[in-house]
Amino acid sequence: MSANETANTTATVSATARRGAAAAARMLGLPALLIALWWWAAVSSGSFFLTDPGTIAATFTEVWVSERFLTDVLPSVGLLLTGYALAAVLGIGVGVPLGMSTRLRAAAEPVLEFLRAVPPPVLVPLLMLLVGLDASMRTAVIVSGCVWPVLLNTVEGVRAVDPVLADTCRVYGIRGRRRLGVLVLRSASPQIMAGLRQALSIAIILMVISEMFASSSGLGYAVVQFQRSFAIPEMWSGIVLLGLLGVVLSAVFARAERHALAWHRGLRAASRGD
């Protein structure tokens, strides 16, 4: 390698490093600024409700990196994921036949429009009144709230299957389960993913409030207990944990979506001509 090349490589490396640093500054700049502001506000105002980020961080490890993680956090998350998965299966399972049959769809539409419009959190007091909210009922709350966006989006997606692709399947004798897998579900997948995304945030809402309302354990319960007993830093740490849960679940979802819909992004980009 000549000196010249070495110099070039060094230059590229340092340019890459500079670009990396700029990207890091862009990414972390504003969050750092906001945290600093928060810190300053907490310290200078001396407000009882406003805890500074340092204390929250310390409390966070103290409160959640303990057996509480096993007793309160994991069961909640398990419940959330179970309910969400059941809702997804149910929503897609019912949505596909509804999407494929015009008659069924026409018959079910008004009822579905109504059921979808019911704000899911009202199910919490209802089920509480009827059977009390044990873990399985909390799962039922999550399922019954999450199923609608999945169901309705699946119906829309299945309905919009491209007629040329459908003809192609008929010509080549593709039917039954292979048709379902290769044509119906795949072409509806962008819509189904949109429905699953909406369902995810509803699932979190339902998990938290069903625990706040009626439970003696779980993440939502713990946070409300801290608030009631005016354990402010602990409450803040709970809020942070709920926030992190939302962020992590949404990141995992975004990853799965990117993977499942890679073809869709490519197709869109190609049809826009870039």
Binding site: D162, V164, L165, D167, T168, R170, V171, Y172, G173, I174, R175, R178, V182, L183, R186, S187, S189, W263, H264, G266, L267, A270, S271
Partner: protein
């Protein structure tokens, strides 16, 4: 081997009946390459859907080897005009070609052999792992063609397959189709609105009338089997055939003018056109003017493009 007999299709909607195809009868022999050409909106696509079993005719019948077609027959493949919409965007090129073979339950080695052969035959041996939307329009249509020939059909239907690709690509694809037809000895029914294309490709050109559709003329193309974009298209015989078909289509569009060659299947119709070629030119020009007045979308259809 493919018999279309008295085919009729009417659509009913909103209390109104629309007759798309009135009465179509024609017959394709084993291994024949026939082109269907007609004015825009004459029900070519409807006809093709009935022939492929995707649509039930209102009356009349379609039979393949004497067996009536009631659904898509297993030894028939179709290439659609909308290549972008007939390929599965979530499958790779290979996946698209292989899919029907999986449904046929062919063993894996045989599938690989067929897919490789088909992709090679359309000149896409290298593109198997790409997705359709990563390819140009012409290449996407090649994938659709590869899928059709890998299926090993006895009959290949093509619905204006090159209507949406540019002229250069189109010429290449036309030669590809002729090559594949000779190599795989299939029966091909090729629907187009482009007269030049029909004459260049076909052994036979079936001219349809305007909607409600009947067979206006059936022209045998007596050009040599080895065709070439340059020499074939500049041959006098090509020009004669082209003018003949063109005149028929103008007649068809104007509704009147009675089908000049009805029933005169075979060379008779074509020779007749050669005989009155001189008078025909003026005829055609007059008709061209009318076509233009009719609507701008029809003019390019009739003139057929590339010259």
């Amino acid at each position: 081997m493919l018999d279309v007999d008295g085919l009729r299709k009417t659509y009913s909607g909103r209390g109104r009946e629309v007759e798309a195809v009135r009465d179509l009868t024609f017959r394709l022999g084993e291994g024949e390459l026939a082109c269907l050409v007609g004015p825009s909106g004459c029900g070519k696509t409807t006809l093709l859907k009935c022939v492929s079993g995707l649509m039930r005719p209102t009356a009349g019948s379609v039979a393949l080897d004497g067996r009536p077609v009631t659904g898509p027959p297993p030894d028939m493949a179709v290439v659609f005009q909308e290549y972008g919409r007939s390929l599965f965007p979530w499958l790779t090129v290979r996946g698209n070609v292989e899919l029907p073979l999986k449904e046929k339950r062919l063993p894996k080695p045989r599938r690989r052999e067929l897919v490789d052969g088909a992709l090679e035959a359309v000149g896409l041996g290298h593109a198997g792992s790409q997705h359709p939307w990563e390819l140009s329009g012409g290449m996407q249509q090649r994938v659709a063609i590869a899928r059709a020939i890998a299926y090993e059909p006895r009959v290949l239907l093509m619905d204006e397959p090159f209507a949406a690709v540019d002229a250069q690509t189109r010429a290449d694809l036309e030669d590809l189709i002729r090559g594949l037809w000779q190599r795989f000895s299939m029966t091909v029914l090729f629907v187009t609105h482009d007269i030049d294309e029909a004459v260049y490709l076909g052994q036979r050109v079936i001219v349809l009338s305007a909607s409600p559709t009947v067979v206006q003329d059936d022209v045998s193309v007596d050009l040599p089997d080895e065709r070439d974009q340059l020499t074939t298209r500049s041959a006098p015989r090509f020009a004669e055939l082209r003018a003949h078909v063109y005149r028929e289509i103008q007649n068809a569009k104007n509704g009147g003018g009675g089908p000049s060659g009805t029933g005169a299947t075979g060379t008779g119709g074509a020779e007749g056109s050669g005989a009155d070629g001189g008078g025909g030119a003026g005829d055609a020009e007059g008709a061209d003017g009318e076509g233009g007045a009719d609507g701008p979308d029809r003019a390019p259809t009739a003139t057929g493009g590339r010259r």
